[in-house]
C-alpha cells in the first residue's frame, strides 16, 4: 500500500490521518494484511460464501401503527432544535 492508496482509502472512509503519521498507518495496515493473506494458502473452491450463520427468513409485522412518534422527546434530546425541526449544520451545498 502506498500513500496514494491510503489517501483514497481515507476518503472512502471519511477519515483523516496527518501527513506525518501516514507511513505509520500504512505499516499497521500492512501488518494486519500479512496475517489476513494467510487465507490464500487455503483451498476454498468447494465452499460457498457464508454471510450469516443461521438460516434466516425475513420478518414482517402487521401494517398497524406500533410506536407513536415521540417527537417532543427526540427534539428535546437533540443538541439544537427550532420549533418542530432539528437544527443541523448545512448539509446541502
Amino acid at each position: 500500500m502506498n500513500k496514494i492508496e491510503l489517501k483514497n482509502l481515507l476518503f472512502l472512509s471519511r477519515l483523516r490521518v496527518n501527513e506525518e503519521d501516514q507511513d505509520k498507518t500504512i505499516e499497521k495496515l500492512q501488518n494486519t494484511f500479512e496475517m489476513i493473506d494467510q487465507m490464500n494458502d487455503l483451498d476454498l473452491d468447494k465452499f460457498e460464501p457464508l454471510n450469516n450463520p443461521l438460516e434466516l427468513t425475513n420478518v414482517s409485522r402487521s401494517d398497524k401503527e406500533k410506536n407513536r412518534n415521540k417527537k417532543e422527546e427526540f427534539l428535546e434530546k437533540s443538541p439544537k432544535s427550532d420549533e418542530d425541526y432539528f437544527v443541523v449544520p448545512k448539509i446541502v451545498e
Binding site: 472512509s13 483523516r16 490521518v17 495496515l29 494484511f33 487465507m39 460464501p49 449544520p89 448539509i91
Partner: protein
Amino acid sequence: MNFQEIRNNFRDKKVSAKELTEESLKKAKDKSDLNAFISHFEEYALERASYIDTNFDQYIDKPLGGIPIAHKDIFCTDGRKTTCASKMLENFVPPYESTVTKNCNNAGSIMIGKTNMDEFAMGSSNETSFFGPVKNPWDDSLVPGGSSGGSAACVAADITTISTGTDTGGSIRQPAALCGITGLKPTYGLVSRWGMIAFCSSMDQAGPIARDAFACSALLNAMASYDDKDSTCSKRESVDYEKGLSKDFGKLKIGVLKGVENLGISEEVLKAYESSKKILEQLGHSFVELDFTELSSGICSYYVIAPAECSSNLSRFDGIKYGYRSEAKNLSELYLKTRAEGFGDEVQKRILIGSYVLSAGFYDAYYRKAQKVRRMIKSKFDEFFMDVDLVFLPTTLDQAFEMNRESSDPNRMYKEDLLTIPANLAGLPAMSLPNGFSKNLPIGVQFVGNYFSEELLLNTAHKMQEVTDWHKMTP
C-alpha cells in the same frame, strides 16, 4: 456470598434489595481505581431497590429479583448515557431501552451502572476505551481482557455478582478467562441485539458474565427472549436454563484438541487444560481428538468480515444525526474532522481495513474469500458435532498480560482471540470458565456446543464447578 446465596437471602427476607444495592454501590466506589465503570447510577439504583422492597411479592420469583447488576455500556438505556466507550458517543442519551436491559429490569435486577469496555467493542485488552483502561482485579498492572473488560472486572472484584457483556470474537470469554470468572456467548440469535450498538452485526451476541454457571443460567433466563425488533432473533421456544442445571445429560463425548503445540498456547494454559480433562474424565465423559488446524485460520476471516461490517455500521456516525460533532467550514470537512476526532486509533484502523476489503477490485480477494473461510469453519464444526456433544479447548493462548504490551508480533493482540473466534464465525454457543491458576493469576477453558445447546453447556460447566473451586477464588 455467591449469586444463589444472595438471591436466597433476598427471597427469605434476610436481606433487602436496598441493602444489596448499597453494598454494591459502596464496593464500586471503594474499587474505583479499577476504572470498571463509565457511569454510576446511585440515585436511580437506590430508588429502584426501594421500589422492589416495597413490592417484594412481585419480585420474589423473578430470576434476578433484588440483585444488583452492571451493564456493558454498549446497551442503550433510555434516558441514561450510553457511550460505547467512545468520544463519538460521550454525551449520547438514547431515547429507548435495549431489549437486553429491559429484560433484565423485568427480571427484577437493579442496574447500578454501565461498565467500561474497548471502544465500540473493538479490542482484547480494554485499552482502547476513550475513558481509559480497566485494570485486572488480580493485578492492577495487567489488563482484564476485552472488550467486556469492565463487566468482567466488576464481577471478579465482587462489585456485582452478575453483569452483561457482548461477544463478537471472544469479548465475553476472553475477559472472563483473564479475570477468573464464567461467561457465556449464546448461539447467534438467542439474545436480541435491539438497542445494542452494532459492531459486526452477523457475529455480535450478548451474553451473561458471572462468577459461576449457576448465575449465568439465571441471567441467561432473563436475557434471552424472542424479539420482533431484531430480524435475526430466534423464535425457538424458551428454555429454563436454571432448571436445566439439575438435568442428567449422561456421559458425553467431548472433542479435545489434537496438535495443540502448533497453536502457540502457553505451558501454564496447556497444563491447566490437561488437568481439567482429567476432571471431565472423572465425571465419566470420554474424549475424541479433533484436528483444530483449519479452525485456527478463522482469525484471517474474522479480521476481514468484522472490519467490513464495522466500516458499514459506523458510517452512521457523521456528525449530523447524533453523537460528537466537530467544527468545520463545509460538509466534507465536517465528516472528516468529526470522525477523525471522534473515533480512536483502533476503530479508525478497522474502518480503513473494512473500506479496503469492500472496495472495488478487492471484494473477491478479501471479503468473498473470508466468507468462504467462514463456511469452511461452520462445516468443520458441523462435522465435529456429528461425532461429539461438546468441543473443549483453552479460551486463551496465555494469561492476563501487562498494559501497553510490547510484542515482536504486530498481530499479537488480534491473536488473543485465536481460540474464541471460530465459534463466532459459525454462530455457535461457547462458554468460558476458570480451570486453574498460575502465578496467582486465573486461567480459563471453554466449551463450544452445537446450535442452541446452551442448556447442555451450562449443565456441563455447572457439574464441573460442583467438583472444583477455581470459580470461588477472589483476588
